[in-house]
Symmetry: C2
Subunit: 346 residues, 2 copies
């Protein structure tokens, strides 16, 4: 059987802030049967993780390109691969059967032809919505868990600052930190998000960075005795202000620097004299380096979810056509929580 498959490409490399006009929706005739002898799998994509790091893959040059396979450069005109959950439509591989739910590196498309090595794991039918495996139970959750616990080695009572705190990773970091017994302040880009952090997610305090004129003073106000841990999702001036307000032996976990992704002029100049005298550690990380703690992360996070100790914040769009606007929206602060595009119901 043949269908028409819609998929998304970039028209050319994107060097600054992405716009919907940078993308194109293409269509192709797509066979739902495999070639005889193929050991590939045909997947109908159900939900797609929409993540800021992809902008680095869309540039003509980025440090991301030589890093790991899922941050490799994208080619204009070709299908964009990303973390996706799909359902097996046809399989030439004995490990996967029709209707299996699989999570892996598939394409921004309705259907993908997938090699075995691009399937990360099968998903059993879950007590929680499938999309959780892209967010709180997936790489967003693992980023939060590894970046907070493994990188920052937090102690109960420590003072934690999280930027982009209503975003896919930040909101989970803040909740983990509260569960550990830390004092947590988050920043976000709207009053609505600030209210969410304080009222729904249990942050001790939160502020709208767009309303602040001098982030250094802002952080001094929220952390009069200094910051022990800064979970950085944004870079730029916020990183500078956080370093200026760190305590001795403070730790900065750099998960992402979204303000620098689309504007190289916004590069942070943290005061290295602070770094020396306060013995600050600034460490970048990728969640994929922490697959060794995935089981531990998964067990604890499932427990928290079952006990109602974690709120799950998702922001869904529907249909393949909505992918470009969903992605562009990440850079405008449109999303609240984990951004997911749902293509089809299970």
């Amino acid at each position: 059987m043949e269908v028409t498959n819609k998929y998304i490409v970039i028209k050319k490399h994107i060097e600054d802030a992405p716009k919907e006009s940078h993308f194109e929706i293409k269509t192709e005739p797509f066979s739902l049967s495999l070639e005889p002898g193929s050991d590939n799998v045909i997947v109908k994509n159900l939900c797609i993780s929409i993540d800021p790091y992809l902008i680095n893959r869309m540039k003509s040059y980025s440090a991301s390109h030589k890093s790991i396979s899922i941050t490799a450069p994208l080619t204009p005109g070709e299908a964009i691969d990303a973390i996706i959950i799909g359902k097996v439509v046809a399989s030439g591989n004995a490990k996967f059967g029709k209707d299996d739910l699989v999570l892996g590196v598939f394409t921004w498309a309705e259907y993908s032809v997938v090699k075995e090595q691009n399937i990360i794991r099968k998903l059993e039918s879950s007590e929680f919505p499938l999309t959780y495996h892209l967010g709180i139970l997936g790489f967003s959750g693992l980023s939060a868990y590894a970046g907070f616990f493994e990188i920052c080695k937090p102690q109960k009572g420590e003072k934690v600052f999280v930027s982009a705190a209503s975003g896919s990773v930040g909101n989970i970091v803040g909740q983990y930190a509260k569960l550990l017994g830390c004092y947590v302040v988050g920043c976000a880009g709207s009053q609505k998000k600030v209210a969410l952090l304080k009222e729904k997610l249990g942050f001790d305090d939160a502020f709208n960075y767009k309303e602040e004129r001098d982030l250094n003073s802002t952080l001094k106000r929220y952390f009069p005795d200094g910051i022990d841990i800064y979970f950085d999702n944004v870079g730029g001036e916020m990183l500078e202000a956080a370093v200026a307000n760190m305590k001795a032996f403070g730790r900065v976990s750099v998960c992402g620097v979204i303000s620098e992704y689309t504007d190289a002029e916004k590069r942070a100049s943290p005061n290295m004299i602070d770094v020396v005298y306060k013995r600050i550690t600034i460490r970048g990380f990728l969640a994929t380096d922490f697959l060794n703690v995935f089981a531990e992360f998964s067990t604890k996070t499932l427990d928290y979810l079952r006990n109602g100790q974690l709120e799950v914040i998702e922001d869904k769009s529907l249909g393949v056509e909505s992918i470009p606007s969903a992605f562009v929206g990440l850079f405008n602060g449109d999303n609240v929580g984990k951004k997911v595009v749902v293509l089809a119901e299970e």
Copy 2:
């Protein structure tokens, strides 16, 4: 008995590059006898460690001021305390006797009145010159040892870059790295220093940064496969270039940022996208946090010295009057190796 004591003060806070005119040599009548009942010690200062970090103490504001006691702010007009070796002239304290050699936090002066807590340790008469206890066997050596081994966790064969490599700490880092079996490149500010690094200290390669127009390309030339470890003494553009040329999981040990001490405009803007995707760690440290490894450092370094495996590079000036020019010279690259002012022979 009373003598005339010469000591050095700053006339006012120094906010940028120090000049000799910022300093004043004062004299005072000084009694070589203690008040009855005093438990202080009178020390005749023999040799003084001259270190760049003192410039931060001389500013009206610096992150150094709230750090540890030996980096606390200095008051214009008052004696300047620093790491010094002296000989006890008179003692009201049973722990110290006349003619004992003591290392501690004394003053830029011919004589100091010292409290017990300012004496770090007694020195036994040593097989090596006394000045070694300010440099290779003292805090310079400990900075090199802790900053390289404890912070960077180096492995044999790794590629190591050291800035200010002919300086008091850098030259020792490079030699430790060679002894471990690393590939080591250093940079310095003159052809003479470069020759020293390559010909006397055994660095694999070295360059004069003043002759390079684009440090990023320079480091790419010396490290075509990237840098594993950068031991930073300078900050600024060199730190940016090093981060751009780091390998995955690279480590930056920040011992000092001399280029930023006297010119806040030179603040480094390391590319945080590199920091994330290459999972780089940037960590500031102070040697005083590593007194727990002092015995280990001391034993190993003494062994290396006895076996002739470490070269000791000292740069001595004579007399209390030479202290200001010795200090100012640090910021002009005048010194080669450990800068010490010798006031009197043992």
